[in-house]
Structures are given as C-alpha cells and as structure tokens.
Assembly symmetry: C2
Amino acid sequence: MMTADNDAWLDAVNWNSEGLVPAIAQDVGTGKVLTLAWMNREALALTYTEQRAVYWSRSRQKLWRKGEESGHVQQLQQIRLDCDGDSVLLLVRQVGGIACHTGRERCFYRTLDNGAWKIDEAVLKDPATIYR
Amino acid sequence: MMTADNDAWLDAVNWNSEGLVPAIAQDVGTGKVLTLAWMNREALALTYTEQRAVYWSRSRQKLWRKGEESGHVQQLQQIRLDCDGDSVLLLVRQVGGIACHTGRERCFYRTLDNGAWKIDEAVLKDPATIYR
C-alpha cells in the first residue's frame, strides 16, 4: 500500500510539463552509458519496487518494462537524482549485455568523426532473433 | 564558414519541439556520469568547434559555456549519438574535478536509500568561493 510518506521521494523529482523525467542507464560492470529513456511517476515508482528499469514509452504512450520482449532486462543497482531533481541516473546490470534494439551493447553506438556520425560499435545479435 | 555539408551531422539529430536535445556528460577519467544538460543546434555545433561543452540554459534562455564563470570547463574528448538521434553523450575531462554548482564532483550526488534521497557525495569546494 502506498502511503503519503512513501511518495515523498517521488515528489522531490521535478517532472517536466509532460510529467516526465529523463533517465540515464549506466552499466555498473563496464561503466558505459547504455541508454537515455524517459520515466513518468509510475515508471520510476515501479523501477524501485520491481528493481528493474521501467520506462515510459513516448512513442507508444505506455509503460515499458525494459527487456519485456527481448529479455534484456536492466536490473537495478542504484537510483541517483541530480541537483535540480530533473534527471535520474540508474546504475544497472544489463542482462544479455545488449541494451539497444539494434542488437548492440548500447544505444550510443555512433561517434562524431571528422564532422560525420560514424558507427564504431558492432551488432552483437541480429535484432530479428531478439524480437520474435 | 558553415556549408551545407558541414551541417549534415547536425541535421541527423532529432531535436525536440523546443529545438533541444538532452546531453549527458561523462568523465573519461573516472567514468562517472557528471551532468545532464540541454543543447540547441548552436550549442552542439559550438561544443564541437570549441572542443568544450556548450549548453543551452533553459532557465536563462541563452548559451552557456560550461565553466565560463567557475572555470570548471568540460573539455571535449568525444561526442556520441544514440540510436534514435534524440540524445547525446559527451565524454569529457572535467577541469577542477567539479561539475556541479553545489561544489560537488557531479550533479548526481543523491541516491535513493530506503525510500528517501540521501546525499552521499561531499562538497569539494564552497560554491561561494567558486562563483564570485
């Protein structure tokens, strides 16, 4: 049962005009920044109670339990909040070692190289075999 | 002089309805995620040309060269883009070892501990001596 007291930490978050906050996921093993996704209040509450990353899909307008289809769950180690309370940092263990829907380790697989984006991280698993 | 060709990498970014994109800064030395701030097109272009983090201050509605007052510049090592093109990751060297205006190493100095935010990172320098 949720009580007013339990909600205090959620009230401390400065949700934007859409009721969302950006959430960065960082792998505790490799230290790599894996993803940036968005959370509403319910998603952040569920992330804590379920100890796995739960986001708000802006494109699908619904809760998105990371890994619900792929199995690539982000197991929660820690939740951190920044000084302005308007962004969240998750320390996670990335199940399967793949965070990106492209089958790569993470979403940040492009780097700016001589004024052009260059892919410098490999596809580890064919997305067709991840999402059936 | 900017040419159409030079702008292609900026066109690849999916700017939000306000013309902004969230930018994560990660310290290349410690691996810590330091800050999440916002950039408009000009800020991202300047970050690349000046090789230091330049953000768009949403509160002040103007360009903000990180460290312009404090000296705590974020020297650019790499710019990365995510799969959707709607968030940017900067690998930086944090001059002075302080990224946060509170005088702490980084903005994410609070962790969720038994349902409450707890400060677990120290003030390294009194902000009154940083901003004169």
